[in-house]
Symmetry: C2
Subunit: 489 residues, 2 copies
């Protein structure tokens, strides 16, 4: 190797030696699709794009980058919403999209082994003829891949009952920053040693690269019904949500939309949502017929106690899917109301829902920017959509400031700054609000335990202590950081 060359040139040569020509992109034109993820405002240009097809090739890419001291940004389908897959300048973008193997269904253990590039929906499409499905269903499930789902610990409409990604993965093969292989988790109920599987899931590509995973499958429920409940008051709808959960009922999904979101969805897909309502709840119940009947009666009683004004029931699949259609199209529908919108993602304890929605309305008035709310109410996972026009001077900054204040509100009531979209690049500053310096320092020590040189997805998910100190959001004791050894982070 020519020692005079920069490490960047050396790494491309080394990658070219182990990857077929079509699996290594270096031309700006061919790399364009990899400049951003779903958060398209944040872009970057990688040094090159590697598209390995096997776990061995992924290991080779990682080992080469490690030897050359070059950063690696792992990428799934690129549907993430917080910039987690944005390429860093000079980094190798490592696409896992071509690891698309799916094993046969393991009926005895009711699970399936898949590669990280397999699309979320493709799994249920394969298993449904056998009466099984994979439960986590993020809105992007038609496009997003399992590797990205693990990186972000994705949820979806049904995670209230069936859990997040972390509750539906049994085991994984992971490569560390050097390309060393670790097998974590198992098909058995518990594993000795620290729970590395839960640690890797949701770590946004900072700790390791998953090259295959065993996913839990669930039996397709016998029946499913959907209730649409319209309320004249947002607070009463929110309180009904808490009451349903407090009664020990676990709906498959429990979603809420406010007046602005209802109108936008109805204008877009015309499914007959009640425009006059201040809020609607969509409550899905699944299971066997008797179970559903019992839960349905209890849910209806609670809804009436909370002053529901219009209650509709979808029992057949066509009506049910029509009612869901408005919810599922709500983001693009709201997007038609203004030139730009900013989709927030925060969580709160369910019981604070009414109060937090009232405060979001107050913030919306203060900033003079409309906010539509479409969200996983049962989980307390909010998705306020802030409408603005980037061409109007300062509106983008105002929208961002409003978003930051909403997240601070979430933390203040005991919630978190992200429910399912991850921190990525977008929420680094909000992490300073969420965590104390001690807690952030602990997260950095975990990172160092997997990737001491900080090569995997640098600059994402966990802010440096300096960044927080500069923001003033972090409490700095006596003018110095509490863990001096961590100042380099």
């Amino acid at each position: 190797m020519n020692r005079a060359k920069t490490p960047q040139v050396g790494v491309i040569e080394a990658l070219a030696a182990v990857l077929p020509a079509e699996a290594l992109l270096t031309e700006p034109e061919s790399m364009r699709p990899y400049e951003c993820d779903g958060l398209s405002a944040l872009r970057g240009t990688p040094l090159c794009v590697a598209l390995p097809e096997t776990a061995e090739a992924v290991a080779a890419v990682l080992a080469i980058c490690h030897r050359h001291g070059v950063a690696v940004v792992p990428r799934g389908a690129g549907t993430g919403l917080s910039g987690g897959a944005r390429p860093s300048t000079g980094a190798v973008l490592l696409s896992l999209a071509r690891l698309r193997d799916m094993d046969a269904i393991d009926f005895a253990n009711v699970c399936i082994r898949v590669g990280p590039g397999v699309r979320n929906l493709a799994i249920s499409q394969k298993t449904r003829p056998h009466g099984l499905y994979y439960a986590p269903d993020p809105s992007s499930q038609i496009a997003c891949s399992i590797g990205g789902n693990l990186a972000e610990n994705s949820g979806g409409v049904h995670c209230l009952k069936y859990g997040l990604t972390t509750h539906n993965v049994l085991a994984a093969e992971v490569l560390d920053a050097r390309g060393e292989r670790l097998e974590i988790g198992s098909l058995a109920p518990d594993s000795p040693g620290y729970n590395l599987l839960s640690l890797i899931i949701g770590s946004e590509g900072l700790l390791g690269v998953v090259t295959s995973c065993q996913l839990r499958l669930l039996p397709v429920p016998e029946e499913t019904v959907l209730l649409l409940a319209a309320f004249g008051d947002v607070g009463r709808a929110a309180d009904a949500v808490s009451a349903i959960i407090a009664a020990g009922i676990l709906p498959a999904g429990l979603e809420m939309m406010d007046r602005l979101a209802i109108a936008a969805a109805e204008d877009f897909v015309h499914v007959g949502y009640p425009r006059e309502a201040a809020a609607i709840l969509l409550c899905e119940l699944d299971g066997d017929a008797q179970e559903i009947a019992a839960d349905q009666a209890r849910v209806e009683t609670i809804l009436r106690e909370h002053g529901v004004e219009d209650l509709r029931l979808a029992r057949d699949e066509a009506t049910r899917l029509a009612l869901w259609k408005g919810r599922k199209a709500a983001f693009p529908a709201v997007g038609r109301l203004a030139p730009d919108y900013y989709c927030m993602d925060g969580t709160i304890p369910r019981v604070r829902l009414a109060e937090v929605l009232a405060q979001i309305a107050e913030l919306s008035r203060k900033f003079g920017l409309p906010v539509a709310n479409v969200f996983h109410a049962g989980d307390g996972n909010l998705h306020p959509l802030i409408l603005y026009d980037a061409n109007v001077e300062r509106q983008q900054q105002q929208a961002e400031q409003l978003g930051a204040e909403i997240l601070e509100l979430c933390v203040r009531v005991g919630g978190t700054i992200t429910g399912e979209h991850g921190v990525g690049v977008e929420k680094l500053d909000s992490m300073c609000v969420q965590f104390t310096p001690e807690e952030l320092a602990q997260l950095h020590r975990i990172k160092a335990a997997f990737d001491p040189e900080g090569r995997l997805n640098p600059g994402k998910a966990v802010p440096t202590l300096h960044r927080c100190a500069e923001l003033g959001a972090m409490h700095v004791h006596a003018g110095s950081l509490p863990f001096p050894e961590l100042e380099r982070f």
Copy 2:
């Protein structure tokens, strides 16, 4: 402070300055109850026993030990079965037994905050009048405490349906080795940052000390029924277990006992177990009446297809508890068959159950030691009880060797060396079989990220790479350890 004194003397003085006299034991007589946990063969004498009553006092104890460079062994109720709470010589034994606060039930979030010293059963006793309970129910639940449950990620008869401890804890306050406080997890469905909560749970006191936690409560099921199914053949019973799970039925519990265990239990508690059976299954179903009826019919069909010879149903509570009584008394009952017994704890993929039981019988014959099997069949969590007489020369070593071979068998078929009893001191060598050097090195790096000086519960849970290399169970590349920087572990 007198500099000439040893750090050990200094630490006792420093502890005496922050703890009331009755919260610091230093006399051998008073420390005797703390010499071992439930694995009474492994004993040790601590430097002293600290019994703080508040989280602040626990933090003070940790900070003092950190300053003096003295090790700390955290302890719950001392019911653990793998020696995880055995005092190390010269270490401070830190009992969490006095942190017994329980908040009021949080009905809106369906959870309760408790201190680590609260007994497992006390939680359900408090919440049951309100129709709620805490699901994980280890056999020791009358005595064991929540702090120990978190340390061991405890399971129980019902974890098949309701999960292990890790699935039932929402958040925790944790102190690190220096006594710094971390808040991890939240009442919201997901948290940003790495999942430190799952990492701490099951870490056997090596990463931090939990001073309070939020536990998920579940509604008490409307009804519960118990099926007892007797088989003339162990393999058919085992296959029935797999078939029930593969059919998508999720019993609340699915337990198995073999002939030796049946006879021992029947002799002990006289509940009418079928002595002539080669194996019995206890299958509990809970939920609402219709749900149970539907599942029960399907379970009965599967049991018949697998040649069940005797099928009994306990619908009323008295009969149900009587049938459980034999299972719950099985360990002490088997203990009456021989002077000593060695309780193993390993897991296997459920589908390998018949084959593994046959191989355990084979190993039992080879070693000439009887083995009784009483276990969580639905989880694939085996509890072979090896009978021996420690007064007969070499029998204890033979029992240990037989146990080690059973665990190796578990790993060989894709299982693990512990289901719910932890590694502690007892299974350190088996960890060398379970994990590759790379995987163990990663576990050590996690430890170092929390406790770089190795003060928390040293010598437990994760073996040194040297220990494994000396055992010959570890693959050492080219005569050197793969991560030289870790040789000190």
